[in-house]
Symmetry: C2
Subunit: 203 residues, 2 copies
């Protein structure tokens, strides 16, 4: 384990625990038995450190979100569940999302690119589901994509505020359930069978 990686791991752990803004560099250094300026050697500013964590999350999500041919409902929900799990691992980033984008120069630059990629990826997947006759032909894909984007970005913020007593697994279940119900009016009979099958196979 390199020094750099040990810093990243410890930082992620403490940021998730207390919130990025509320963990000082001195506190982090103390937990690592290190001097502050040793962290600064690897990450010149706190923003650099946070940015690296954000890059790591993006890479993890990129591995999951792959636009497939012949996407099924089950594949789609699987992807969503895996993204939700990544969000829990890096929850500090999601909880500080808005401020990071306003203040962290690196993150806001990178986000402009990934934002567009991600939202077109969602639309493509919905189109693929429609082509596979899993979504009705008159389903409002823009509405579904917008609402889905809102849920994906902020589910963990709401969970930390309103459902902090639930276990992580129960939180994921709750928000996956909302997504399933969001889709319910727009799936075909075939799609509905897959949706129900997915739900029953899990819960």
């Amino acid at each position: 384990m390199t020094t750099k990686k040990s810093i990243l791991d410890k930082a992620l752990e403490m940021f998730n625990e207390k919130g990025i803004e509320y963990v000082g560099m001195r506190e982090l250094a103390a937990s690592l038995n290190m001097r502050v300026s040793n962290i600064t050697y690897y990450f010149p500013t706190k923003d650099d450190l946070v940015n690296q964590l954000s890059i790591n999350l993006s890479q993890l999500n990129s591995e999951i979100v792959v636009v497939q041919e012949e996407l099924t409902i089950s594949n789609f929900l699987d992807m969503l569940e895996k993204v939700f799990r990544n969000h829990i691992k890096f929850r500090c980033l999601l909880l500080s999302f808005v401020h990071l984008l306003q203040r962290n120069h690196f993150i806001s630059l990178r986000y402009k690119n990934t934002e567009k990629d991600r939202s077109t990826a969602i639309l493509r997947m919905l189109q693929s589901l429609m082509e596979s006759t899993l979504l009705k032909t008159d389903a409002d894909l823009d509405f579904l994509a917008s609402t889905l984007a809102l849920i994906i970005r902020f589910w963990i913020s709401e969970a930390s505020v309103s459902h902090s007593k639930l276990s992580e697994q129960e939180q994921i279940k709750h928000y996956l359930n909302i997504v399933i119900k969001l889709f319910l009016p727009y799936v075909t009979a075939k799609g509905k069978r897959e949706l129900v099958a997915y739900y029953k196979s899990r819960y």
Copy 2:
């Protein structure tokens, strides 16, 4: 205009502009042509100041969200639109929502009460709509209430990240539109006429 009110007004203005965490007490005092310790005379800590703003928002919303007999779709959406306007006026609070609830002692205490009141109020309104045969009898009210709560809490966060180029009016329109489409599969024919009428009367 009392000194106390002028502090609150200026603070709200600057917090909305730059974010609560990024406006220092010295900066605020300078804008008011007063010394920091004069602000602390009225508001011992920054949390007290923020808490007072939060109380003001709650009161404004309480005036709007009144559970009515014979609620119509139009009344319901009107209320929502007014709440959205209040959110814009106090957007700094919404944008720092998660952190405030974790760190601001006063706000987190008050929130435990208002949170419950608000979510039961939403459910009551949906039930009222159902009793007026505007919502189908098999509509999933829990799903609608949950999704609605998520949109109400975080629409402005998403807007500031993804739709900052839109005017405030366009942002409100976009998210009201999402709410309308969310309800569309669950309204009766009568409800649908009201929904469409509301939309056309506005846009």
